[in-house]
Amino acid sequence: MEALAALTVAVLVACGVYLLLRARTFSVVVGLSLLSYAVNLFLFFSGRLLGGAPPLAGAATATADPLPQALVLTAIVIGFGMTAFVLILALRARGELGNDHVDGKGEKR
């Protein structure tokens, strides 16, 4: 279970970083969202992988930690808003600079 979780995060990060290093803004935006998925999963897993445990304090059995879920909820909301913003910014850059290169220096199309 741990190995699968770690592998999922690793693959998402690898794909995200690869896309981030592309020269076109669209790939960069997709890369950013993949990276944020990976980070959200990582945050979620930081509360340990426990199946079927109730999120209650004081119970006799092992309990799931509710705090990472609260953290990941916050992170998802912020990440979603930021992705929307960067998407609009990329469109604006396409309009203002006449191309979708991240430095705004690509060939005019």
Partner: protein, 500 residues
Amino acid sequence: MNHWMVAPLLLPLAAGMVNLLLTGRGIGPQRLVSLACTVALLAVSVVLLGSADSGALSVYRLGNWAAPFGIVLVLDRLSGMLLATTGVLALLALLYALNGDDRRGHNFHVLFPLQLLGINGAFLTGDLFNLFVFFEILLIASYCLALHGGGAARVRASLHYVVLNLIGSAFFLLAVGTLYGLTGTLNMADLAVKVAASGPDQTALLRVCALLLLVVFGLKAALLPLHLWLPALYGSATAPVAALFAILSKVGIYALLRTSTLIFNGSGPAAGMIASVLPVLALLTLVAGSLGVFGAQRLRALIAFLVVVSAGTLLAGIGQANVKGIGAALYYLPHTTWVTAGLFLLADLIARQRGDQDDTLTRGPAVAQPTWLGSLFFLGAVAAAGLPPLSGFIGKLLLLQSVAPRDGLWLWSEVLLSGLLALVALSRAGSRLFWGSQSQRPGQGAVHWGRLGPAALLLALSVALTVGAAPVSRYAEDAAGQLLRPAHYIAAVLAAEEAP
């Protein structure tokens, strides 16, 4: 509990929301709300500065939850000083913006208070995840403010800034998640206790966390390999926004200072991780910034590189991790923030009067008021280059005194060399702008006091810091002493008494 402590967050939040409701009713009411908000913020910050000066730590428990479980705001000398620095800067930047720069884009008066909310929150919070949230608030406001006024240069610089900071946020969350997984807490004081008591099997991961946080805060602070976004962004932003951004890179420096003295303090297993790399990176930043200042083709870019230089200087002091070094950096911080902000405003005034030449450092038309602008530029250049008698000199002197010449050969040579390079670059810029004008005699246009006033006041604060050097440097050293005794902070946060 001291309820004034939450006012630096509630005031700008309320002002931002009210201004959002006032959208579409003309800019007058919005201006009034923003102005009232920043004046009140300045007053509250001064009151908080006074209460922090007693040496007592004030802890404000949001929702009245006890410390490791709820989020706390903590006011110590460092936070008090930074709040006051921000308050002064925000008021003067807003006064400059009220002359028409706030009309150059939409929603300036909504974003400006929200930017202040993020900055003040980052300075006050005592919780690592809450620090992330306030970072995001100040970042999203800064993304929009950086675009204020529009134009290709701003969009290009902002795209880099936004993407880099989104990656930085991902790193921040990775560090927070790892720290939570290791220690089960996110309260900074509680983290300090848990990190100090952690077993040897956790040392490696804790070091990774320390370095991840160094990358995140280094990106905000414009530390060497991560400083490339800053000159383009600050150089292209609208003048009052660039002036306000002068405090933005200081938020990263504050966070570095806080984490290195509190969470990864001298006794823990991950101690010294940040302190071992910080001095080297700081000096390299100083060199890179100085070369940028020397090679800049535009006045705004030159000033933006001065911000990089100031980040290097501040971190060189902080990297020494002793009372004298941190104290010197904390004396230098308000000086460099206000002076670079004043220079950004002045550069805008100069550029407005040069027509097509804008702020390029070439021979061109004369400015309309060479006496006023020239004198102010001279004042700002003396302060920024660190020449006597102004506060830049005192700050650098304190920094050099904090380390013996034998031990600090690199620090001495870098700081003095960067001062020389800045001096040469600023004199060259000044002589081209004011003496190299080809055109007819300077015009006699009316002095625009609404714009000149805030710029002059920001630069004159350097004189005030010189006159008041004794109390300010005493306060800065006390703040450094407080930072280097984390036990006091930890005890105050974890033992905060129940509210009646």
